[in-house]
């Protein structure tokens, strides 16, 4: 049985029932705004890998600086000596004694 999904065309045709004069570009913008807002409510889970550098503390998560679009990180694993990814704890306050800027 096919999964019921709506294409952008389906969505726009529903909107045009009430707003036949709405420009296409504006509708695309509004649909993308809706997706952006929906993304704030944990709709899509993704994974990414990062390479550590010796004695480097900070790694970029920004949408422009990294290749992934992260809203909220909920788990970080670190590779152990067997090559498996092991869950590591999150430090709650992040107030460590020896801070680094790199």
């Amino acid at each position: 049985m096919a999964v019921r999904r709506l294409t952008v065309k389906n969505i726009i045709s529903r909107i045009r029932q009430t707003f036949p004069e709405a420009p296409d570009n504006y509708l695309y913008n509004l649909i993308n705004d809706a997706l952006l807002e929906a993304g704030l409510y944990r709709t899509k889970v993704e994974y990414a890998k990062a390479t550590t550098v010796e004695d480097q503390m900070w790694y970029d998560l920004s949408d422009t600086g990294s290749s992934v679009d992260i809203n909220k990180v909920f788990r970080v694993d670190f590779m152990d000596s067997a090559g498996d990814y092991i869950k590591t704890p999150r430090m709650l306050d992040g107030e460590i004694l020896k801070m680094d800027i790199t």
């Binding site: 999964v3 999904r5 709506l6 294409t7 952008v8 969505i11 726009i12 529903r14 909107i15 707003f19 695309y28 509004l30 649909i31 993308n32 809706a34 997706l35 929906a38 993304g39 409510y41 944990r42 709709t43 899509k44 889970v45 993704e46 994974y47 990414a48 890998k49 990062a50 390479t51 550590t52 550098v53 010796e54 004695d55 480097q56 503390m57 900070w58 790694y59 920004s62 679009d69 992260i70 809203n71 990180v73 909920f74 970080v76 694993d77 670190f78 590779m79 152990d80 000596s81 869950k87 590591t88 704890p89 999150r90 430090m91 306050d93 992040g94 460590i96 004694l97 020896k98 680094d100």
Partner: protein
């Protein structure tokens, strides 16, 4: 290449400040060097290719073709219509000079806004999650 950490759950941790992820470790030399000895938190001490696996909630991809499917659960697809209509009704309310038409448009904007909010926030988790079935009840073991 694997790392040299046998039990990263014991000596590696992470935290986030703004857009930066900090990966830190307590592993270090046994020397009495100030603030760098074993047990003190410091920057991760080795280079590991793909050594960190990050699990995160991501932003959906944008759409730019008529044939695209919105990059969210299909249970939410119809709700996008409500979001767009709410914005268009607000636009209509701002453009018209007739106060009655403006008021009606604002009311309809609120209706669609509420339907969008309900789908996304109020019932969103229940609609989107893939967890179902009866929960097990486990009593305490009193032995």
């Amino acid at each position: 290449m694997a790392s040299n950490h046998n039990h990263p759950e014991n000596d590696v941790a992470w935290f986030i400040v703004g857009d930066k992820l900090a990966v830190i470790t307590t592993r270090g030399s046994d020397s009495s060097s100030v603030h760098s000895k074993s047990g003190d938190w410091k920057a991760i001490d080795e280079a590991v290719t793909n050594g960190v696996l990050i699990h995160y909630y991501a932003e959906p991809n944008t759409v730019d073709e008529l044939s695209d499917y919105p990059d969210i659960d299909n249970a939410m697809h119809a709700s996008i219509v409500d979001y767009v209509k709410s914005k268009l009704y607000i636009d209509r309310a701002g453009k018209t000079t007739d106060p009655n038409a403006s008021g009606t448009a604002m009311n309809l904007a609120m209706v669609h806004e509420k339907q969008w909010r309900d789908a996304l926030v109020k019932f969103g988790t229940r609609r989107r999650d893939k967890i179902g079935g009866q929960r097990a009840v486990r009593t305490f073991d009193l032995r």
